[in-house]
Every structure is written in structure tokens, then in C-alpha cells.
């Protein structure tokens, strides 16, 4: 499962992994703003930021190819909206949409794959993110595993009885079968999620996730956040200066 792999990556021990989550969140916000507001020389800016992120992954000793592939999960959604823009006669915006979506996902992945989720959520909490949002994020993340595992078991059970994706597609009612399987998957996931929630309540869970780590923002974190914020800004300024202003 993708999330299990990212979870494993987040347990690394590089310099980037050891940075306080608030420093990484701060740098990420600056990066995303610099990217989202870039218009002139977007290709240069995007190339520079992509190299910057790739260096980040290499520094954190997270497999670059795997991370690039996983960040691509955002592309199907981005491409749908890009096609709408293209059809509306704005191909420039369509291309920008795809580039910015991919780079944003890649940047978020760098933070997520270098910060264990409970620590990241604790960092978000300390930067003032509403508790409700954090709770939803934590449950969503937890239940992704649940749905993934249920789907895996159902697919194995179906395969054991001779089912295959090809047979499904060749069957007369593939949509009906797929809808039935999806309904069963969500019913099973819901039941399991209820059991998990009950087990959490039994251990005194009161709607607030605690983390086993104490966070400490030290001088090296301050240096990191400063450098990690200035570099993307510098990349963008350099890319924009390299091009003449349109007349």
C-alpha cells in the first residue's frame, strides 16, 4: 500500500527527518505560495523547483523514483481540470495547472515522507490548525489502511474463486458487479472502522490524538526554515529575471 511505504519512509533518520515539523510546514507553505503565484517563466521556475525537491528527497535518503511516481497520483485529477481549461481556450492555464499540481504534491510528499504522521499533526496543531481538521486528517489516514486492507482481502477472496479483472470487464454487467463490490467494500470498511473506534474509546481516547514525542524548535530548525524558504523564492526570482517582461 502506498501509505505504508510513505509511513516507512517517514521513519528515516536523515537531517531532514530530524527537523521540527513546524520548520518543515513553514518552508512548505512558502514553497507552495511561491509556486502558486508564479506566472512568468513558469517552465524555468518549475524546473528549478523540481531540482530543489529532488535534492530534498536525495538528502533525506528517500527513493526519488518512487516518490516521483507517487506524486503522480494527483495527475488524473489535475488533468481533468486542465482539459476543461484547454477546452475553454486557455491551454497555457491548462499546462500550468498540471505542472503546479504535480510540484505541489511532490513538495507535500517530501514533508510527509520525512515526518511521521502523528508528529506532523502535532506540528500542525502547534501552528494553530483547527483540532477538527487534524482529527479528520488522522482518521482519514488511519482508515485508508482499513479500506486498503479490506480491498486486498476481497480481491484475494475473489481471485481464489476464479475472478479476474479481465473476466469482470468481459462480463455482461461489469458496472453492476463493480458497484456491488464497492458497496460491500465500504460496508466492511465501515464495520471495521467502528470496531477500531470502539477499541480507541476503550483506551480512553477523547477525540484528541497525543504523540509520544515532545517537539523542540532549535536554532538549526530556524536556519533550515530560513534557507528552505529563501531558496524557492530565489529560484522563482531568477527564473522571472531571465525572461524579458512582455510588452
Amino acid at each position: 500500500m502506498h501509505q505504508a511505504v510513505v509511513e516507512r519512509w517517514s521513519r528515516g533518520n536523515s537531517l531532514l527527518h530530524r527537523r521540527d515539523p513546524r520548520a518543515k510546514i513553514g518552508a512548505l507553505v512558502v514553497f507552495l505560495v511561491a509556486l502558486a503565484t508564479a506566472h512568468r517563466g513558469l517552465a524555468f521556475t518549475a524546473a528549478g523547483l523540481l531540482i530543489l525537491l529532488a535534492c530534498g528527497f536525495i538528502w533525506a535518503r528517500v527513493p526519488l523514483a518512487g516518490a516521483m511516481a507517487r506524486a503522480g497520483l494527483v495527475l488524473p485529477f489535475a488533468i481533468v481540470f486542465a482539459l476543461i481549461s484547454w477546452a475553454a481556450g486557455d491551454p497555457g492555464r491548462a499546462v500550468a495547472l498540471v505542472i503546479k499540481s504535480y510540484l505541489s504534491a511532490f513538495a507535500v510528499l517530501l514533508v510527509v515522507s520525512t515526518t511521521p504522521l502523528p508528529v506532523l499533526l502535532r506540528g500542525l496543531e502547534m501552528t494553530g490548525t483547527p483540532q477538527f481538521v487534524l482529527l479528520v486528517a488522522q482518521f482519514l489516514y488511519r482508515y485508508l489502511f482499513v479500506i486498503g486492507r479490506e480491498a486486498e482481502q476481497m480481491s484475494r477472496a475473489a481471485a481464489a474463486r476464479g475472478a479476474s479483472a479481465r473476466k469482470w470487464i468481459a462480463a455482461s454487467g461489469p458496472f453492476r458487479a463493480a458497484a456491488g463490490a464497492l458497496a460491500a467494500l465500504f460496508a466492511r470498511s465501515y464495520a471495521r472502522a467502528e470496531h477500531i473506534h470502539r477499541a480507541m474509546l476503550a483506551r480512553c481516547f477523547q477525540g484528541h490524538f497525543q504523540t509520544a514525542q515532545n517537539l523542540r524548535f532549535c536554532r538549526s530548525d530556524a536556519v533550515f526554515v530560513l534557507a528552505a524558504s529563501l531558496i524557492p523564492l530565489a529560484v522563482r526570482i531568477a527564473a522571472e529575471r531571465a525572461l524579458p517582461w512582455p510588452r
Binding site: A4, R203, T211, A212
Partner: protein, 238 residues
């Protein structure tokens, strides 16, 4: 001395109208280990979920002298630790140590102390070596031990184990029995495993159709049962 658990006339219906408990009377004394037998769907698990307020029905439930109600639920969840049948539902944190510390942190225990108690609990169940591993990489027996560590770390007065031997191989069952026997708490074991109950329990009760149909020593209860797993129904023979 007052019993640790005293239940009188407990009734409970699920939202779909299924009557799961139809008037259960039960007592657990300090230091006692009791087996709950009974066919699937007879109300055993529903019953134990009432002991720390995860479900609430009609009737009276008193645990360590406290009535089970909205106000007392936080205290009761410290006093009654439930180890669920499927360990996967109980283990959800990224590492074993964090999972064992989950309940302690919820109790408001300071981080360093919580981690130290979590380590001690893992030592008790012989799983200290797995502290930094992801729970989903463990075997069924290891998961069960970690799930137990997560509960005993909270130092409950009563331990409830729902089908503790489910999915365990015979050596795993034996080693789990040894572990449970050494835990000092009063215990309730929901089980179908007669040998396991005989090894650990002072007495047993038999659930049928949402009531306790029989009680006594494990041998007495077992000798009066027509235990027929082939139809998944155990009929009590009066």
C-alpha cells in the same frame, strides 16, 4: 468485600431491534478469573462492552463500586481494560511502542513516564524487542501480546479478553495462557476454548440467547453442555 463487578438485570437491544441481552446477572470478585462460554451471537461480547461503557443498556452495572454512566466512563475505562478479539482493530499507531503508549497518553501521563511504562508493559509480555516495529508486520501471536501490553500498561483492575486464542497456533495459545496466568488482575475471558478456560479460570458462566443460562466451575459447566461445533450451537442441558 464488595464484588469488583456487579450486574443486575442487564438488557440491551441493537439499533436494528436485535435483543442481544435479555436480563443478565453477573458478579466478579477480586482476584477471580471467569470464563464466558456460549454460542456465537449469544451476547458475550455485547455484555463485556457494557463493563466500561462502550455500550449502555437497561439494568444496573457497577464496576469497583462505581455505577456505569456518562460521568464515570473515563474512570471506568482506566479500571476495565478490554483486549479485543481482532488485534488489528486495536493496533493502529505507526509503531508498537507508540501503540502501547496510546492509552497512557490519553490518561494525561507525561511523555517520558508514558514511554517508560509502555516499555515496561512490553517487557512483561516479552515484546520489548519489537518496540520500534510497525504493528502490522507482527505475527498474530505477537500482535495479541502487544494488544495486551497496551491494556496492562494502563494498569486496569479488571482485564477482559475477548477470544484471546483466536487465530493462535497451539504453542502461541500455551504461551498466551502462561502470560495471562501471571497477570495479577481479575479477568474475564470470552472464549470457546475449553482447555484454555480450564487452565486459567476459577469458574465459568454460559450465555445463551442473551442470558446466563448456567454457571459453576469450568468442569461443571462443560459437563452439562452438549457442545456441538458442527452446527455452531451449544445447547445447555438442564
Amino acid at each position: 468485600m464488595a464484588p469488583l463487578i456487579e450486574v443486575r438485570g442487564l438488557r440491551f437491544k441493537y439499533e436494528d431491534g436485535t435483543a442481544a441481552l435479555n436480563g443478565v446477572d453477573f458478579q466478579l470478585e477480586a482476584g477471580e478469573t471467569v470464563a464466558l462460554f456460549g454460542p456465537n451471537g449469544s451476547g458475550k461480547t455485547t455484555f463485556v462492552l457494557h463493563l466500561n461503557g462502550l455500550l449502555t443498556g437497561e439494568g444496573t452495572v457497577q464496576v469497583c463500586g462505581l455505577p456505569v454512566n456518562r460521568k464515570t466512563i473515563p474512570q471506568l475505562r482506566r479500571k476495565v481494560g478490554i483486549v479485543f478479539q481482532d488485534s488489528d482493530t486495536q493496533l493502529f499507531m505507526p509503531t508498537v511502542l507508540e501503540d502501547v503508549a496510546f492509552g497512557l497518553l490519553n490518561l494525561g501521563i507525561e511523555h517520558a513516564a508514558a514511554l517508560s511504562r509502555a516499555h515496561a508493559a512490553l517487557e512483561t509480555v516479552g515484546m520489548a524487542r519489537t518496540a520500534s516495529r510497525a504493528p502490522y508486520h507482527l505475527s498474530a501471536g505477537e500482535k495479541k501480546r502487544v494488544a495486551i501490553a497496551g491494556i496492562i500498561a494502563m494498569e486496569p483492575e479488571i482485564l477482559v479478553l475477548d477470544e484471546p486464542t483466536a487465530n493462535l497456533d497451539p504453542p502461541g495459545q500455551r504461551s498466551l495462557a502462561e502470560l495471562i496466568a501471571h497477570l495479577p488482575q481479575a479477568k474475564i475471558l470470552v472464549t470457546h476454548d475449553i482447555g484454555f478456560a480450564q487452565a486459567l479460570c476459577h469458574r465459568a458462566v454460559f450465555f445463551q440467547d442473551g442470558v446466563i443460562a448456567a454457571g459453576g466451575t469450568v468442569e461443571e459447566v462443560v459437563s452439562r453442555l452438549d457442545w456441538d461445533f458442527s452446527v455452531e450451537r451449544s445447547k445447555f442441558r438442564p
